[in-house]
Symmetry: C2
Subunit: 223 residues, 2 copies
């Protein structure tokens, strides 16, 4: 599958690397590839992942059958716009896997600002902005290393998918399966409005991570 990852930070690197590793054709989109190359060791990361190509957001959008939104949530709308998701000429019904959260750490203090609330979420904002795409929320409830390699954390911990298009969710499930997520640990929460629930969970994840002293922490469901 042709996958474009938007986002060149820790999350984008973890997911782009893993998508390539499990056999997909992966590009990473960024505003300015030359500048990204110079930043935060990105050139070194690319050298270690020669199968991943760094391109502009627009080129990434044109490449994508599946687009992974791994940008900072505050910049997601702009990045997907740059990627041409609005008119995405080659692939109507583009699947967008949105793993982002709108977190604002600029205020200091224990908790960041957070963009989700009970009546809205980033994923729904993206779906409303790009109605021809099929947005699926997933993986946003954990550290990116665990997203990409669930076996880094022991136990029956879970991830969630939410979205309004069943076929798009099935595409995302296939990708998660390739990452190592057993089917019974990918919980379908239903429509995309459930993204409110998973985005609002972030403060608890931050607390759990703080209490555990590690980012490699996740939750299991007991019933």
């Amino acid at each position: 599958m042709r996958i474009a990852v938007l986002g060149t930070g820790e999350v984008g690197r973890a997911l782009a690397g893993r998508c390539a590793e499990v056999g997909h054709d992966v590009v990473v989109g960024t505003r300015d590839p030359a500048r990204t190359r110079e930043r935060d060791g990105y050139a070194g990361w690319l050298d270690g992942h020669p199968e991943v190509r760094l391109v502009t957001n627009a080129e990434a959008g044109a490449h994508a059958e599946l687009l992974v939104n791994a940008t900072n949530g505050a910049g997601s709308l702009a990045a997907l716009t740059d990627a041409g998701v609005a008119e995405h000429p080659e692939h109507p019904g583009l699947v967008v896997l949105d793993v982002a959260n709108v977190l604002d750490f600029s205020g200091g203090g224990r908790y960041p600002g957070i963009g989700a609330a009970i009546d809205h979420s980033l994923a729904e904002q993206l779906q409303a902005a790009f109605p021809a795409a099929d947005v699926v929320k997933g993986l946003n409830t954990m550290n990116c290393q665990v997203m990409a390699r669930p076996d880094r954390v022991p136990g029956e911990h879970v991830t969630f998918v939410a979205g309004d298009d069943e076929e798009a969710k099935a595409t995302v499930r296939d990708l998660l399966s390739a990452f190592g997520w057993p089917e019974h640990r990918v919980l379908d929460l239903g429509g995309l409005d459930a993204a409110r629930a998973t985005e609002m969970y972030l403060p608890l994840w931050l607390s759990l991570s703080g209490a555990a002293g590690t980012a490699e922490v996740n939750i299991a469901v007991c019933r």
Copy 2:
């Protein structure tokens, strides 16, 4: 210990009954005991729990060494005010265990309105209104039957405490231990601001409960 439970709904009944069962001296506070008796089978519930006395909120406040806020979150401030928590003459340092959430189901739809956000929580609102009390947030992340009897759900599922007073948290921990919560499954998230995290988790709990088809569901932490 002399415990007053504010709230006569399902949560108040489950917790008052359990507090009495584990040996505490329990009253339940309500605005109008005569009216409560006539409502929703409450008289029958009291007949089944003769060791629990139904009193006014003011009498409940005067009784309490530990006060359990099991009211609907939207009415909590008024109930604690009626209970005289502001001036609580006999017990400065009254411990308030706040298990409530501000949920508004009046709008219909999948998710209720919710009173918590990243910059405020019900527990902090109560602490600010009653500075002489020591508010501890706890148990608000699950169904009340599971709060009172954690062994109704299998597995290493957890509950959380948050509060600014260590002694008050220790008092709450003792109560949870009597309910059947093993010490290692009561996770201390630190100061009372962590109530934001546990109150914001409610939409995910609602989703998990919906997906599981049962209210008897809770989360475990994997690391």
